[in-house]
Structure formats: C-alpha cells, structure tokens
C-alpha cells in the first residue's frame, strides 16, 4: 500500500482582479470574466519565487505528515518558473527542510504538468521500496506577456505531497499517463514570456489529453464517473475543466472543492495539485478522488486515490487552501503588480 501521508500548500497574499488588468489594456472585463470563468489571480510578493513557495508548502506537508525530514529519500520540484536555468531548486528546498545531504533531488519541467510528474515518480519510488518517503512539489510563479490572454490567469502557488507506505491519508489505487507531441504552448531559453499557438489550444491539446487519460483510467479500473466522490482537472482557466467534466459525465458536486481558478488563477504546475489539496481539506474518509493534470506539449497524468480515516485528524494541523484563498488578501493596482513581476524596465 502506498499513498499520501502529508500534504501542504502555500498561496501568496497578493491578488489582482481581472478588471484591474483589463482596464490597462482596454479590454472588456465582464466578457473576460465570463469567458474564462475567472475573477482574480494570486500574485507572488517580490521576495517569493518557486523555491520559497515550495519550502512553505513542504513545511506544511511535513507538519501534517509528522515525520522526521531525514526519512525523505527524494525531493522533486515541478515548475516552469525554476529560479535558475542552471542550478537546482530541489537542493535549495531540501536544504531549507533539513533533508540534505542523503537525498535524491530533481527539478521537473512539463508546462503545467510538472507537479503531478513529481507525484507520479515519488509514489512509485516509495511503492518499489527503494525509500521510506518521498516529497513531490508543484510550484510556479508564472507570467503571461503583458496584454496577452494569459496575463489574466498566470498566477502563483505551490502544493506539496509526502508519499509513504504507513499512516496513509489517501491511498493510491491506480494511475494512467497519456502523452503526445503537441505544439500548443512553449517558451524558449531566454524568452521572458511563453508563446502559444491559438489553433492548438483547447480541443487538440487540453481536451484530447484529459479525455484520453480519463477514459483510459476508467477502462483500466473498471470505474464509472459516478463512482468518484471528487474530481480535479488541470485548470488553465475556470472554463476548460468545467466543460471537460460535464462532457465526461461528471457533476458540479464532484469538482466543486477542487475548482480554484476563478479566485486563484492558473498556478501552472501547482494547479491541479492545489485543487487536489483543497479537496483533501474537505473530503470524508473512504472517498474516491480522481486527479487529472494537463501540461502543454502535451500530456495528462491521471491518479485515483481513496481517502482514509487518518485524513480527518491530519488535515487540521496546517492551514487549508480556502483559508489562504479567502483571508488576508491584499489587492494590487496594475502599476504595483507590474513592479512586483519585474515588468517595468529600469536602467541597469
């Protein structure tokens, strides 16, 4: 038996509303909000990045797991906004958590899917018996080009999961991955902002891979959409996951807790992992959860988890996702947001 023994999240305090961005670019906020099912997004403070959010989330996961950090044999950080092009995030995070030096670390990158990639590897390493525990983190402080549609959604956050074989709060039942080479979104080395080919967004990218992974895992497990208590899809906006869920035969009650994009934005590698954490915050024991990520380029990882009795006492030990989303928000004006995100050009 393998599964999650602790989870933790970190969401920045700062927010910017769709109206505030739309006003600068002469766009119609109401149309955008309706079209994207998105109202506001998180913004990292100037001193927050993928590494700091990862440490915050992982510290909360360690508190919930209640284990000695030295038991963690691997640390995987999935992100498309690693602080360095060359110098690992994983060692910074491991050092801050007190896991160094006897640990395997790797930085993963797969657009918005890097977080669940780490979860996949960590779960199977622990299952294989190579190590007692492994830590997987999805974290991003992503940027959309000024005025681009992605600027309304690209946000920041992190979710961390510690995998183990004992004291499990959500047991892994099965996984399925679905990948193809798809040219929907990319960022070249040294490019500040990503580019996307509008034609490949949606149907041949998000939908094809999410549907591919969901249908395959339903086949593999012999389960039907109605067998699941909860569902979390990757959320590039608030619209895609809702449409996909409905077309696949899922209902609002199943994705309700996990759908965070309308008030959080797209946290990229942390998107579906944060939705999963928000669902664990609310689920009852012995419930089935389907988690499906999506990363451009492209692919989806699907996981089936079953919660255990232990989840109930474990989850109150660290702050829940909704608390971080709903309390102590600080709203930014576009100018301060642009400064925070390094969008203002200054002389060297």
């Amino acid at each position: 038996m393998v599964g999650i023994i602790g989870y933790g999240t970190q969401i920045p305090r700062y927010r910017i509303k769709v109206e505030e961005i739309a006003k600068v670019w002469g766009a119609d906020a109401e149309t955008l909000k309706r079209g994207l099912n998105l109202n506001e997004k998180s913004v990292p403070a100037p001193d927050e990045d993928c590494a700091t959010l990862s440490v915050g989330a992982a510290r909360n996961a360690l508190v919930r797991a209640g284990i000695d950090p030295a038991l963690i044999g691997a640390v995987y950080v999935g992100s498309e906004s690693h602080p360095y092009a060359v110098k690992p995030t994983g060692t910074i995070v491991s050092e801050a958590l007190g896991i160094c030096p006897h640990v395997h670390t790797a930085d993963l990158e797969f657009a918005c899917k890097a977080g669940t990639e780490g979860m996949f590897i960590a779960l199977y390493l622990v299952k294989s018996g190579v190590m007692t525990c492994a830590l997987a983190i999805g974290a991003d402080t992503s940027q959309g080009a000024p005025g681009d549609a992605l600027e309304y959604s690209a946000s920041a956050g992190a979710a961390a999961f510690i995998m183990g074989r004992e004291n499990i709060i959500a047991e892994l039942l099965d996984t399925h991955c679905y990948m193809t080479d798809t040219p929907d979104f990319w960022r070249r080395e040294n490019a500040h902002y990503p580019e996307h080919s509008g034609r490949f967004t949606g149907e041949p990218a998000y939908k094809k891979h999410v549907f591919g992974a969901v249908n395959a895992i339903l086949d593999k497990t012999g389960m039907k959409p109605e067998d699941f208590d909860y569902l979390i899809f990757h959320q590039p906006n608030g619209k895609f996951p809702v449409q996909a869920a409905r077309q696949l035969g899922f209902t609002e009650a199943q994705y309700h807790y996990g759908l965070l994009t309308p008030v959080l934005g797209n946290t990229y590698s942390a998107s579906s992992p944060l939705g999963f954490a928000a669902t664990l915050d609310e689920a009852d024991p012995d419930q089935l959860i389907l988690l499906v990520s999506y990363g451009s380029g492209a692919g989806s990882d699907a996981f089936v988890f079953r919660t255990t009795e232990r989840l109930l006492k474990n989850r109150d030990l660290a702050p829940k996702v909704r608390k971080q989303l709903d309390e102590h928000r600080k709203y930014l004006e576009y100018g301060v947001y642009a400064k925070f995100r390094g969008k203002i050009l200054k002389p060297e």
Binding site: I11, D47, E48, A51, T52, Y84, E95, A96, K323
Partner: protein, 132 residues
C-alpha cells in the same frame, strides 16, 4: 553579501538552526563555538520554531543598494519562543501597520540577488502571523 558568507550562513538562514548549550541550556542563534553565558563548548543543534513577538522595529525608507525597490520596509528585532532575539526584515505587510508586541512568524524568502545574472540569496524573513 558575498557568496562564501551566504553559503556559510545557510543553516541559520534556511532553517533557523541554533545551538543549545549542553551545560546551562542557553540558546545561541546563530550557533556559536563557546557558550556566551558559561563558556561551555558542547551544544545540541536545534531549529527555532520561527514564532516570536516583535520587540522593536524601524522602517527603512532610504534603502541600501539592491533593496531600493522594496522600500519602505520594516526591519525588526523579534523575541522568539525559545527566548533568543533575532533580527530580520518584516515582509508581506504594510510597515505602518506594525506594532511592537505583534506575533510574527518566519517564512523562507528571497533576501537579495547579485544582479539579474548572479546568485540569489535566500533567508528567513518575518511576516505577521495570520495562521498560514
């Protein structure tokens, strides 16, 4: 800050590593080789909890090089739960709203960087304790 010094200070900056005197129990942060109270040389390694009360603070309005963009910001002295005082920047808040006696907690944050292509220095900073 130069790179060797930043690297040397990793234990205290990254995870609040302190030294507790095995003879008199005095906690030194950062760790020391000789107990300032009793002169003993054996210590137990502990990590501070990160929680404390703001004893005093000042607001930096004319910031040193590399910190101009975040001014005004507060730097405070915090009495940690373990009894030691720790100085650090207070972030994620309006410095005008701080009060002595406020409960603060540490977070792992970016402290500085050596320009846009140089090393990024991480450290603890204080934030108001809002339960997250």
């Amino acid at each position: 800050m130069n790179i060797p010094r930043h690297w040397r200070e990793t234990p205290e900056r990254y995870r609040l590593e302190a030294a507790k005197c095995r003879k008199c129990g005095k906690i030194a942060f950062p760790a020391r080789l000789i107990c300032p109270d009793c002169g003993h040389k054996e210590f137990e390694k502990i990590n501070l909890s990160g929680k404390g009360k703001l004893l005093t603070y000042t607001i930096i309005r004319t910031a040193p090089e590399g910190f101009e963009d975040i001014a005004p910001y507060a730097v405070g002295i915090v009495e940690m739960e373990e009894g030691v005082s720790v100085m650090g920047q207070v972030t994620d808040c309006d410095p005008e709203e701080l009060k002595t006696g406020d409960t603060l907690v540490t977070k792992f944050r970016r402290m500085s960087e050596e320009g846009k292509t140089g090393l990024i220095m991480y450290s603890y900073k204080f934030v108001p304790d809002i339960g997250v």
